[in-house]
Amino acid sequence: MNEEQAVDVLAFDDGMSVDKAKDSKRTAKRLLNYLLKQQYKLLIVLIATVLACLFTLAAPLVIAELINTLLASITTHQFVDWQQMGRLTMWLTFLYLLSASFNYVQQYIMSSVSQTLSLTLRGELNQKMAKLPLSYFDQHQKGALMSRFTNDLERVADVLQNGLLQLMSAVVTIMAALVLMFWIEPLLMIIAVATILLGMIVAASIANKSQARYRRNQQALAELNGLIEEFFTGSQLIKAFNQQEYAIEKVKKANDELYEASRRAQLMTNAVTPLIRLLNQLGYVVMAVISAIFVLNGRLSLGLVQAFFQYVNQVSEPVTETAYILNTLQAAVASAERVFEVLDEAEEMPEAANSQQIDHAQGAVCFEHVSFGYPNGGKLMTDVTITVNAGEKVAIVGPTGAGKTTLVNLLMRFYELDSGRITIDNVDITQMSREYLHELLGMVLQDTWLFGGTIGDNIAYGRQNVSEQEIIAAAQAARADHFIRTLPDGYQTILNDETTNISQGQRQLLSIARAILADPLILILDEATSSVDTRTEQEVQQAMARLMENRTSFVIAHRLSTIIDADLILVVNEGAIVEQGTHEQLLAQKGFYAELYNSQFALASA
């Protein structure tokens, strides 16, 4: 079972809240276009539905004939015409058989329609995800995007599968049955319709009233879920402070709140069906008495009365259902709209028409007058110019939020520049394919990421077909081998993104191992060692130093002590490079860097 997902989704789908599309018409049309890709199937389904409904509706008339035949011979004290009765029974069976067959045809064909549609849309979302710029992921919550793939498309499929069929047969049944009822006896039909309408009014007014109760219920639920999430996440702390009783008390209170709200909300929803049923029953009794009188008068045959009541049943059920179906249909359109919104998001810049590659790649990197900012956000980089020779070690330092990470993201072309250009060995990176660019660059990121699989698989992520020895060698080089072996299953330990039996520092060691194994031309270490303690860091540094030999590398680090030997130090502040040079040069400048450096050590001896 997957629990984390439920938590992610909890915040975005509460199921009960009113869910309406912003532009239902346009979305419905677009959804219909997808559906119409399977138009022949839909046509067959439509024909089968109409036929199935009509055969079902014809049956009561045959039963009426049966009863009338029987009644006629009983009242006239003659022998029953069993040949006629047998024939009618055969017809009846045949009608039911036909109806069942067409029902089968309809459902069999429909069985793949909705799932094919979701599969298509999931595929399109999947393609889209690869083309979305990284800023999209930065600005949207994980759970929301996941819910587009899962909940939203699941709802679309469900509603199309069941709702569409039900809606089609409801429309056909209601129309045909009303005609037949009118033909049997207009007065009875009017009473029947009046009863059904009354039921609809009652249902609608209850639905209206229950909105407020639902909202309260949702609020209470959200509050309780929030508390539980918080208390479980901080469970160790609660223990340390002996606050278990207090937590239990708080949850109890929220739980009582929810009890009250949910009791009232549930009562409203559940009361609708019996209320409508009661109304229907009352109408039924009235019609029974009136039709009995009509039979006595000779205005109606008993067989037709029986048929009429069957039609009443056949109409009232889809009528109550239709309200529900229309609601779910509306929700499905809203879901589809959210999916389309993702599909309509602006994409990454397309690849250059004829992408270039570098002959004899060396690894010289140039930023030329680079400017960058998020759309509708402030500038994050202004007029940055850097020249890095092949094989140099570049350190980027500066306060948090100064734009250190942005520099790297631009080099990786995760974001597009507003102006200026970045080159590797004099080739503009926008002239290369992204794939080729990423082959040149290897990185260890600030937010380490591990995927569901073994530790071994995770280390081998950057290169295909690696031997076990190579994996272990990379882990050893990254000082990860020891802790991996303390785990129950060693290199075979299964990880996932939420894994808790591995510390942040250990995760970083794994992603360092991953980069070591990938063996890129240019190396990027994005605050990778900040959670690894200094001693481990030093060991990793040694491994890295070997790795960085003759390799251009960019290092972003908190601890200035680790970057003293860099060939070039870039001091970033407020989106611009305020100083650049070697450690000695910068100290001699007595500028921003010197101040930063001294503040780190001034107090150590104090």
């Binding site: 909890l10 049966l66 009983i74 009242t75 029974t89 009846l92 069976t93 039911y96 067959s101 029902n103 089968y104 459902q107 069999y108 429909m110 799932q115 995800m129 690869a130 992921f137 996941m146 899962t150 309780l224 879920n225 539980i228 999430e229 208390f231 479980f232 996440t233 469970s235 702390l237 402070f241 002996n242 949850v251 009890y259 949910s262 009791r263 049923r277 009661l278 029953q281 009794v285 029974a288 009995a292 009188i293 990786m412 990421w449 569901g452 992520y461 020891h482 802790f483 303390t486 785990l487 129950p488 993104d497 808790t500 039996n501 200094t534 001693r535 030093q538 601890r559 503040s599 150590a604």
Partner: protein, 576 residues
Amino acid sequence: MLRLLKLVKPSFKTALAIIILVFLQTIGTLYIPTLMAEIVNNGILQKDMAHIVTVGRRMLLVATLTGIVALMAIYLNSRFAADLDRRIRNSLFQKAQTLSVTDFNQIGAASMITRTTSDVTQVQQATIMLLSMFLPVPVMIIGGLLLAFHKDTYMALIIGSTILLFAFLAVFMGRKVMPLFIRLQEYMDLINQRLRENITGVRVIRAFNRVRYEQARLTSAFSQYAQTAIKVNKMFAVMMPLVMFVMDSCIVAIIYFGSRRVAGGFMAIGDIMALTEYAMLILFYLIMGVMAFIMLPRAQACAKRIMEVMDMDSLNDQFTCQRPLMSQTNAKISFQHVTFRYQQAEEAVLTDISFELYAGQTLAIIGGTGSGKSTIANLLLRFYEAESGQIFFDGMDIRCMEASKLREKIAYVPQKAFLFSGSIADNLRYGQKEADLAQMKRAAEIAQAADFIEALPNGYDTLVAQGGDNFSGGQKQRLAIARALVKPADIYVFDDSFSALDYKTDAKLRRALQQFLKDAALLIVAQRINTIIDADKIIVLHEGKIVGLGTHQELLQNCDVYRQIAASQLRKGELA
């Protein structure tokens, strides 16, 4: 699921009342067609107008009463449902508070959250469905068949055999569909897992050029899901028309053979209509019952996950104290040959750890990632139990103390600063409910948090969002430190609590701390030499073992590992 229900003991009286009401409702529902037959047989056929009106009135009464009974059942049902929900959730949450940290982490916070939220709802819904949809089925079958027998034995047999046929079909189909449902859920879980990875790992995936590989992984999960879903739909495509046809055939049989019985004078023509109605009602209720049944395995799985928690030991606070073991030392804390390993781990996290900490002293622990630093703090707080060796607090083996008594004397700052939603003051008072503003201000000043708190428009009343997300990492850490300082304690444990602070703040904070906590014992887990340079005693941990114990100067002289750490952090001049 039954075990869970037994455990939480929902109101038996309410359940009984619901059962009785549902029973009455079912009887009423069956009585209407019986009266209808009466109108046809003795009213229409006998041309007795008065009788029609009399029976009509009785029908009206029965219909109204049935409706009222149904509404009462709904009322009780809603109450019962909400109450059940509350009971399960309360006892689950209470249970969770008594679990040991090992057990809790084995399940994980995320999973505990789902179990306490959506799993509980699933179980509750299934129980209600059982009560309102499953329970009436036997009543309907027995009542309907009795009425049918009363009309005509042969007719009752037709209805009875249809029920059997239907039950057979339901079981047969259920066996085929159930495994598919389970598989469907598994594929959905797979989709979710891969999606989450794809979204959180988007940078790495792109950087390592694995976009196409990840797409293929997703595509395969999608199409496996779709194929299974189509299979399920196809089964329903067979099942639903088949069920309908069984029902229809039953009606055909009732009408044809009923006519023969009517012609033979064994029953009246109105009885055919009543019998058809009985058959329809019984089969309709059966279908509803089957649908409720389909929901069961899912709820069962949820109940199992809840029970897994409920079945865990609550003995967290009473580990294994044979007799109050005293040590001869007057140290505040004393570790004697403590060894610890996580369950099933090959290598121990801590091996043979011994040290003592006296009141008024500062003990620092430094070492590499995974060297076991935090584990020492966790053992002291009795989050885990040592595999061998002993830990003494004031000379008493901590296994012989109530965990809450032990923790009362310890103020703890966790590695990951976690704040609760509420106001800043609420958070600061977390360890001491009665703390006044002056105490909080004092703690905040020492923790170097007073400046930024007082700069906030609402000061100490500023609201903290869930998880403390409206504060930066450094601010959260300082608030967590202040929270611990508000609490009066014998020992203050700082588990790598200064890492998000810049060096200047770190130094100021430590100086203030030493002033404030003169008489207490301090245990500081740290990564920076600067943080611990003044400690009375420093323990150097390496791969779970103590490789150095002494002051900064001593360790520089005689501990290799310490020298390496120092060399990586300090300027050459300071190493001397």
